[in-house]
């Protein structure tokens, strides 16, 4: 057991652990019995300082083992189609592959069309509208992207982009999106996209 996992454990006791830490702890609890022991001790200390008399650590450990064994002996409850296994859907994987491939082809086509389009696109600034319109070969676009001459190009090349951790609100929204996506996929395996409502603040 590392100090890092124990620090995460301490943070979990205070409801201050991140989602990532909770995930790591779940794996840790499975493989490291001492992590469980530390958890019970932390709780025991909390009970003492708050004046709550409780069972001893050993009794809690024993009780936890009993409950774990009883839960392990239980089958997984029926969570309905939303969470149930995808039975008899052997076509799901190939269909998903085709859907992803089709999306990529469409996206590539759209990018090329946008680059080659003689018509000004919505959102262009006036100077761009006045610029001579001619077809730009894909190679040129690629070079522009590499040289960083266009703002949008620089943004999407990954260069000069600093990766930052998502703040709590963004993490919450991402999680919400992923959960929604997961539910949609389970309900309809052919659906691969869900609309995420943009907040006014974005």
């Amino acid at each position: 057991m590392t100090d890092k996992s124990k620090e995460s454990l301490s943070a979990l006791l205070d409801e201050e652990a991140s989602e990532f830490e909770v995930h790591q702890l779940l794996r840790g609890f499975n493989s490291d019995e001492s992590l469980k022991g530390s958890w019970l001790t932390y709780q025991q200390v909390r009970a003492v300082v708050r004046g709550e008399k409780s069972l001893t650590s050993d009794q809690h450990r024993h009780l936890h083992t009993r409950i774990s064994q009883a839960v392990a002996a239980e089958g997984l409850p029926e969570f309905g189609s939303q969470y149930g296994p995808l039975k008899g859907r052997s076509f799901v994987k190939p269909a998903a592959g085709i859907a992803v491939a089709a999306s990529l082809v469409l996206a590539s086509f759209f990018v090329l069309q946008t680059a080659e389009s003689p018509e000004p696109t919505r959102g262009m600034v006036d100077s761009e509208r006045r610029a001579p319109t001619q077809a730009i070969p894909a190679q040129t676009v690629s070079n522009q992207m590499k040289s960083g001459s266009d703002n949008w190009a620089t943004r999407y090349t990954g260069e000069d982009v600093e990766l930052t951790e998502l703040d709590d609100e963004k993490q919450r929204r991402l999680r919400e999106y992923l959960n929604q996506h997961d539910r949609m996929v389970r309900m309809n395996p052919n659906a691969r996209m869900v609309m995420f409502e943009n907040s006014a603040s974005e």
């Binding site: 124990k6 620090e7 839960v71 997984l76």
Partner: protein, 191 residues
């Protein structure tokens, strides 16, 4: 959504996807509280443990019906109370007339009732543990003692402690952890 509710919500979602380890963690998180709650209804230690176990199993079976409108703990709390009452009825004993409110329960002094489930051996161990914990806290370096005291005695969040101590939240987190480590070592020393 509070941090507690959010963490529990994530764990419940994991259980619903078949990860029983997540339920194991929920049990670890709340078994102290549920034992405390059940022991207000029952006095015998074995009964308390049996009913606590039964409550957790019932909650596990009922998880598909948990919609997440309330906090997981509030929901579990209700199940535990009903399980304890049903147990009393099945033993032809009269359950108490009124329930303990979930919020009130957090701060309810359960010392009097829990003493009933202690045998002399437990009582000795508890007294010894109490002495060691308080001595360990006293022996902590000032900054660790302040952090852990503000957390455990005053119930402040890390952010609030950081404001009081004028240091980053990460430092608070680390100090509280180091304090717990030191206390744990002292407890291990007594066996």
């Amino acid at each position: 959504m509070t941090a507690q509710k959010e963490t529990d919500h994530q764990l419940v979602e994991r259980v619903k996807r078949g990860d029983k380890r997540a339920y194991d963690l929920l049990v670890l998180k709340y078994q102290h509280k549920i034992v405390g709650l059940v022991s207000r209804y029952l006095r015998d230690q074995d009964e308390v443990m049996d009913v606590t176990q039964e409550a957790f199993i019932k909650a596990f079976r009922a998880l598909p019906r948990f919609r997440g409108d309330s906090a997981f703990y509030t929901w579990l709390y209700r199940i535990a109370i009903n399980t304890a009452k049903n147990h009393l009825v099945s033993k032809s004993r009269r359950p108490p007339d009124s329930d303990i409110d979930v919020d009130e329960g957090e701060f309810h002094d359960n010392t009097a009732v829990l003493k009933d489930i202690e045998n002399p051996e437990n009582a000795l161990a508890t007294d010894q543990l109490e002495a060691v914990v308080y001595k360990a806290i006293d022996d902590l370096p000032e900054e660790l003692k302040a952090a852990v005291t503000l957390r455990e005695f005053e119930g402040l969040s890390y952010e609030e402690i950081a404001e009081v101590m004028e240091c980053p939240v990460g430092t608070v987190r680390s100090r509280i952890f180091r304090a717990r480590e030191a206390i744990e070592k002292k407890i291990e020393a007594i066996g």
